[in-house]
C-alpha cells in the first residue's frame, strides 16, 4: 500500500489540532504552520496526481481491512485532479488571508482552514459512501466556523441559515444511505455498483428512491436550482476569502454526482437508467438561468459573484448531466476553470469591499482603482466565458459535447443567453463601481449608501501579498488557457476512466477475492 495516499487527510488532521492547542496565542506561528501544511499538501497532491496520471487506480485500505468490509481510499485520475485543485486553492486562500489580515479578525482561522481542507480532500478520496458522509460533515463543521469568522450580526444570522440548511441536507443524506443499505446491504461504492447492477429491474422502487434522495443531497451541495437558496446569502455574508475557498465546496457536490452516477447508478444500470438525467438537465439549465439573472440584479458585489458562481455551477452540471465521456471531460475542464475563476472573483470582490464597501453604486474613487478594475475585468471575462481566458474554452467544450444531445438547441440557447446576461451584469457592476466613481458630480456627493465593512484603521487596504495571490490566480487561469491541450487530454483520459467502472471495481474489490 502506498501510504502517501492517506497523507492529504492525515496531515491537516494533525496540523489543525496542533494549531488550536499549542499555537493559539501565536498568530505568526499559526501562519507558518498553516502555509507550511498547505505547501506540503500541494506537493503531496501533485505527486499523487503524477502517480495517477498513467491510469492506475490505487487503493488504501484503512487498518488493512480489505474492501468491502473496511473503508478504502481510492485514487484515480478524477480524485487526483480534484485534490490537487483543492490543495492549490487552499494555499492561495491561506496566503490571501495572511496578506489581507483576515486571519486577525477572529480566532482559529488557520485551524479551521486546515480542518476544511481535510474534509474536502477526504471527500474526494474516499471510496465508501458512509465515509463520504463523514467527510461531508467534517468539511461542513469547519465551514460553519469559517463562515462566521469575524462575527457580526448579519453574518451570524446568515450563518444560522447556512447551518440549518446543511444539517437538513445531512439528515437527508443519512436517510438516503439508510435506504440504499437496506436494499443492497453495503455502502462501499464499488460493492454498491456490483450489487446494484445485479438487482432485478422490476423490484427497485426503494433503490430508485434512495438514488434520487442521494441526488437531492448532492444537488443541495452543488446549489442546483430549487435548492440553491442557501448559497447567495451565505457566500455574500461570509468573509470573502472564505467564500473563495467555498468555491470548491459546490464542486464537492458536482464531484459526488459525477462519481456516484457513473460508478454506482451508471448510465447502463437498468434499474435507475435515465432518472438522473431527466431531473438534472432541466434543473441545471434553470440554475444557469437563475444565476445569470441574479448577476444582473445584484446590488452588492459579494452577491454578484455568488450568483456568478451559481451560473457556472449550472454550466458545469449541464455537462455532467449529459453523462457521456465527452461531456464529462468538458465538465472536468470547466471545473478547473470555474473554481479558479470564482475564487479570483471573490478575492477581487474582497479588495473592492475593503476599499469602498460592497454596494454596486458609484461612491467616488478608491485607492488603486486602476489595478483593481483591471483584475475585476480579467475575472469577469473568465467568469462570463469570454475569450481569451479559459472560461471561453470551457464553455466551448461543454457546448461541443452537447452536440448530440436531444435538447441540444435548448442547451445552447441557455448557455449563450446566460453568458450574455452574465456579461451585461458584470459590465453594469464594473461601470458603476470603477468608471462612474470617477465622475466628478458623483464623487462630490459621497457615499450615503456605503456599506463599508470595517472602517477600523487596522483593517486598511491590504498589502502586497494579497495582490500577489490574486495575480497568481489570474496566472493560473492563463496557464489553463495556454495549456488547454494537455489539460483537456488529461480530462478526456479521466472521463474515459470514469465511464469504465469495471477497472475501479476491480481495483477496490480485487484484493478481496
Amino acid at each position: 500500500m502506498n501510504h502517501l495516499l492517506i497523507a492529504p487527510v492525515v496531515l491537516p488532521a494533525i496540523v489543525a489540532p496542533f494549531i488550536v492547542m499549542a499555537l493559539r496565542h501565536h498568530l505568526q506561528l499559526q501562519r507558518v504552520f498553516s502555509v507550511g501544511s498547505s505547501v506540503l499538501l500541494s506537493i503531496i497532491t501533485l505527486a499523487l496526481a503524477v502517480q495517477a496520471a498513467d491510469g492506475t487506480i490505487q487503493i488504501y485500505e484503512l487498518g488493512n481491512w480489505s474492501a468491502p468490509f473496511g473503508i478504502v481510499l481510492v485514487l484515480d485520475r478524477l480524485s487526483a485532479m480534484m485534490i490537487t485543485l483543492t490543495a492549490l486553492l487552499g494555499l492561495a486562500v491561506a496566503l490571501y488571508a495572511i496578506g489581507s489580515g483576515w486571519d486577525t479578525r477572529g480566532r482559529h482561522f488557520h485551524a479551521l482552514l486546515q480542518f476544511q481542507l481535510m474534509g474536502i480532500l477526504g471527500a474526494f478520496l474516499t471510496g465508501d459512501a458512509f465515509n463520504l458522509f463523514v467527510f461531508f460533515e467534517v468539511l461542513l463543521i469547519a465551514s460553519y466556523g469559517l463562515m462566521i469568522h469575524g462575527g457580526g450580526a448579519v453574518r451570524l444570522q446568515a450563518g444560522v441559515q447556512y447551518v440549518v440548511y446543511n444539517l437538513l441536507g445531512s439528515t437527508l443524506f443519512l436517510f438516503a444511505l439508510g435506504t440504499l443499505y437496506s436494499v443492497t446491504g453495503t455502502l462501499n461504492m464499488a460493492d454498491l455498483a456490483v450489487r446494484v447492477a445485479e438487482m432485478p429491474a422490476d423490484d427497485t422502487a426503494l433503490l430508485r428512491a434512495g438514488a434520487l434522495m442521494l441526488l437531492l443531497v448532492f444537488a443541495i451541495k452543488a446549489a442546483v436550482l430549487p435548492l440553491h437558496f442557501w448559497l447567495p446569502a451565505s457566500y455574500a455574508n461570509a468573509p470573502l476569502p472564505v467564500a473563495a475557498l467555498f468555491a470548491i465546496m459546490t464542486k464537492v457536490g458536482a464531484y459526488s454526482i459525477l462519481r456516484i452516477y457513473t460508478l454506482v447508478f451508471g448510465p447502463d444500470v437498468a434499474a435507475t437508467a435515465g432518472i438522473v438525467t431527466d431531473w438534472l438537465l432541466p434543473a441545471a439549465m434553470l440554475t444557469l438561468a437563475a444565476g445569470a439573472i441574479g448577476v444582473l440584479g445584484a446590488r452588492e458585489i459579494g452577491r454578484l459573484v455568488a450568483f456568478g458562481a451559481i451560473a457556472s455551477m449550472g454550466t458545469l452540471l449541464i455537462a455532467i448531466s449529459l453523462f457521456t465521456a465527452e461531456a464529462a471531460a468538458a465538465a472536468l475542464y470547466y471545473t478547473l476553470h470555474s473554481t479558479l475563476a470564482a475564487a479570483l472573483m471573490f478575492l477581487v470582490a474582497d479588495q473592492v469591499m475593503e476599499r469602498r464597501g460592497g454596494a454596486i453604486v458609484a461612491t467616488g474613487p478608491m485607492p488603486q482603482s486602476g489595478l483593481i478594475s483591471a483584475l475585476f475585468f480579467a475575472g469577469a471575462i473568465a467568469m462570463a466565458g469570454m475569450p481569451p481566458l479559459s472560461g471561453f474554452l470551457g464553455k466551448l467544450l461543454v457546448m461541443d459535447a452537447a452536440r448530440d444531445a436531444d435538447l441540444v438547441w435548448w442547451i445552447w440557447a441557455v448557455i449563450l443567453a446566460g453568458s450574455l446576461i452574465t456579461i451585461v451584469g458584470f459590465a453594469r457592476a464594473g461601470t458603476e463601481i470603477f468608471w462612474k466613481s470617477h465622475d466628478a458630480s458623483i464623487s462630490a456627493a459621497p457615499a450615503e449608501t456605503s456599506t463599508d465593512a470595517d472602517p477600523d484603521p487596522e483593517d486598511a487596504p491590504s498589502g502586497a501579498l494579497a495582490l500577489v495571490v490574486i495575480f497568481g490566480l489570474v496566472a493560473g487561469l492563463a496557464l489553463l488557457t495556454v495549456f488547454a491541450g494537455p489539460v483537456s487530454h488529461y480530462t478526456e483520459a479521466t472521463a474515459a476512466q470514469l465511464f469504465d467502472p469495471a477497472a475501479y471495481i476491480n481495483a477496490v474489490l480485487g484484493s478481496a477475492k
Binding site: 458512509f130 463523514v134 460533515e137 463543521i141 460553519y144 462566521i148 462575527g151 457580526g152 450580526a153 448579519v154 453574518r155 451570524l156 444570522q157 446568515a158 450563518g159 444560522v160 441559515q161 447551518v163 440549518v164 444539517l167 437538513l168 445531512s170 439528515t171 443519512l174 436517510f175 444511505l177 439508510g178 435506504t179 443499505y181 437496506s182 455502502l187 446569502a233 455574500a236 455574508n237 446590488r299 452588492e300 460592497g358 456599506t451 465593512a453 470595517d454
Partner: protein, 116 residues
C-alpha cells in the same frame, strides 16, 4: 413492531419538518433534533428488526443475530448530530445576542444593511 417503528419515524419527521418551518431559532433547533432522532431510528431499522438478538456471530452454534453495521452507523450518526446540534445552538445564540432577535429569515433590510 414494524408499524410502531415506521409510524414513530414518520411522526418524528413530520413534527421536525413542522418545527423547522417555524422560522424562530429555538423551534428550528428542536425540529432538527427531532429529525435526527427519526433518522437514527430509521438507520437502526435498515438492518432489519430483530428482538433480543446480539450483533455477534457464533461459529459454534446456529443462533439468531442482528446486523451490526447499522448499529455502528447509528453510533456515528448520533455523535455527529450531537456535535452539530451543539454548534448550531452556539451559532444561534451568537446570532440572537448580536441581532437581539431570534428570527431565522433575513429581512431585506438586514441584507442591505451594515455588515459590521
Amino acid at each position: 413492531m414494524e408499524i410502531l417503528l415506521a409510524s414513530a419515524v414518520g411522526i418524528l419527521t413530520a413534527s421536525g419538518v413542522y418545527l423547522i418551518l417555524r422560522l424562530r431559532s429555538f423551534p428550528v433547533i428542536l425540529g432538527l433534533s427531532l429529525i435526527t432522532y427519526a433518522v437514527n431510528v430509521f438507520l437502526f431499522a435498515t438492518g432489519r428488526l430483530a428482538v433480543g438478538a446480539p450483533p455477534i456471530l457464533n461459529k459454534y452454534a446456529e443462533v439468531a443475530y442482528t446486523d451490526p453495521l447499522p448499529q455502528a452507523l447509528v453510533l456515528t450518526a448520533i455523535v455527529i448530530s450531537f456535535g452539530m446540534t451543539a454548534v448550531v445552538v452556539m451559532i444561534a445564540l451568537g446570532a440572537y445576542l448580536s441581532a437581539r432577535h431570534d428570527k431565522i429569515d433575513m429581512t431585506s433590510a438586514d441584507e442591505a444593511g451594515d455588515d459590521a
